[in-house]
Amino acid sequence: MTGKWRFLLIVLLLGVAVAAPLGQKNYIIYVLTSWLVFAIAAMGLNLTLGYAGQISLAQASFMAIGAYITALLTLAGWHWMVAMPLALVACFVIGLLLGYPALRVKGHFLAFVTLAFNTLVFLVLRNEEWLTGGSYGLAGMPRPGFGLFSTMKQLPFYYFTLAITVIAALAMWGIVRSPWGRAFKALRENPIRAESLGVDTRRITLLAFAIGSAYGGLAGALVTSLVQFIEPASFGVGHSLRILLMVVVGGAGSFFGPFLGSGVVILLPEVLRFTEGYYLIIYSVLVIVMLVYAPEGLVGIGARLRAKIWSRPQARADLSQGAGLK
């Protein structure tokens, strides 16, 4: 896609995002808002999984950390805009501390460590009642207000979340296109070559994981205000898997993948509501079938279709580059 078309597409998508909740019932607006929130969490995990090639199974626990920190601070009377950055910093630091031992060794150790970490966070949230309210959770967190613009109603809160999502997406765009981001990509394509080109692979992977965790924290801070009630069970290992599937279904390593994936994962249960309990069965079968036939996700299917319909003769890369070599 050329730059102009991509720009037009983004403007179009933003227009749809602005118009979508108008005239809808509160429940639909709630579903749309949670789509945005999970898209942020998935965007963070996409950096870890899609760009740095490491599986993290703790994104829900970073959401939990972000959610509980924001909840405790806002309940203590702090403004959301002050509490949220603190939650982000906490998630970033915890991500560094957790990733350091796990990424010292090769292979899938990050998956193991994060899986155990998610269990640990769940246990702490449930057992430390004096701080977290145990399994009863915390309730009644205020939504942020900005003078005349209060987000207490569902529709203003949707636009508030949309604004945060756009800022988060722009930041991610910057990260992916920065020298760091290029190092992430080099790492994914060929770790050994990246290392030989002077990329400190371990540090870059650790950084990707920590930034991804901070995005999880941001999603958690938004969940606090969206639901205004948090409890340990909504941040279990199962939810980490759900976020992981969002990334994979959308297309790991693609910028728009997480938005698409979280849309499918959040909206599919609404569409498949008539199947009642069978939703997860149908869903997991769809994921396996997709992994067999289209491992690069929905974005990948789109790209393949596009290549089939508008296939252009391709010049050999070295030929088109030839004139530039002096």
């Binding site: 796990a102 460590v113 155990a116 246990l123 770790p191 309990g277 069965i281 997991s284 396996i288 992994l291």
Partner: protein
């Protein structure tokens, strides 16, 4: 002292069952270089095959056990390899790992929706009569569970090291290309590995379900503990998985009795971080060398 001995022995008994599942991790890792995140569900499901055999087909318990074993090997061994591992493996290890996660959800939800969401009683293989063992009251069940799983591990090790098929399987795991040149049917060896994994998981299921009851969510806990056991012991070694399983079982029981019951599930994390920091290849594992 007698309480300590009691805790130690029952820890060894549960640990030996974890070891059976942990060995499965090691086997699948060797055969396909992937982590089977559905391993816990592989231990949960066979008990339900047995219950179906008894309840639906009216089989006596021992026949139903055989039925459960065969169906497990067909579904969790053969079908798993043919329908999931083979088509997805070329797309890369991470893709396959995610597929096994989806498989875990599929197995769990299928059991929940089509059998029952309630915990089902499961007949015990061995009687639960307590025995006096140097002053410690240990149940017959624990002792026999320990003996059976240790016996199976010994048999498996003998099979892998002493028989021609076993050696071919090891060769196929270590270097498929060279093994193929030397005339080993690598595909068949990989299939054997998956069948053995399914059989071990079924055995672990039959031994552990009388204690835990048959429940669709059993896989989560068993899978995580077996997983940690495999890493602690060494992912590329069968005896490592055995040592890891026993160690995690004993430590888990000791923590629950003497330190804290609330945080017993956190013990694996601590153990995992310590092992990764001190000896990443696991206690018994051999270093595989870093690719990066």
């Amino acid at each position: 002292m007698s309480q300590f001995l009691q805790v130690l022995l029952s820890g060894l008994a549960t640990g030996s069952i974890y070891a059976l599942a942990a060995i499965g991790f090691a086997l699948v890792w060797q055969a396909a270089h992937t982590v089977n995140f559905a391993q816990g569900e592989f231990v949960m499901v066979p008990a339900f095959f047995v219950l179906i055999g008894m309840g639906f087909f009216g089989m006596p318990f021992w026949l139903a056990l055989g039925f459960g074993l065969v169906v497990s090997m067909l579904v969790l061994g053969y079908a798993f390899k043919k329908m999931i591992v083979e088509p997805i493996l070329p797309h890369g290890g991470i893709t396959l790992i995610i597929a096994t996660m989806a498989l875990a959800i599929l197995l769990k939800e299928t059991v929940k929706e089509f059998y029952s969401a309630e915990a089902q009683p499961f007949p015990a293989l061995f009687s639960n009569t307590p025995m006096n063992f140097f002053g410690a009251a240990v149940s017959m069940q624990d002792i026999l569970n320990l003996l059976v799983s240790l016996g199976v591990v010994v048999l498996l090790t003998l099979f892998l090291n002493r028989t021609r098929t076993g050696r071919c399987m090891q060769a196929a795991a270590q270097n498929p290309a060279v093994a193929e040149i030397l005339g080993v049917d690598v595909k068949r060896m990989v299939l054997y590995t998956f069948l053995i994994n399914a059989a071990l998981a079924a055995l672990a299921s039959f031994l552990i379900t009388p204690v835990y009851l048959a429940k669709f969510s059993n896989g989560e806990t068993i899978g995580l503990i077996a997983f940690i056991a495999a890493i602690v012991g060494g992912f590329n070694q069968i005896r490592g998985a055995l040592v890891g399983g026993l160690l995690v079982g004993v430590l888990d029981n000791l923590t629950a009795t003497y330190v804290t019951a609330q945080y017993r599930a956190a013990l694996p994390l601590v153990l995992l971080i310590v092992i990764i920091l001190v000896r990443p290849q696991g206690i018994m594992g051999t270093s595989e060398g870093r690719s990066v």
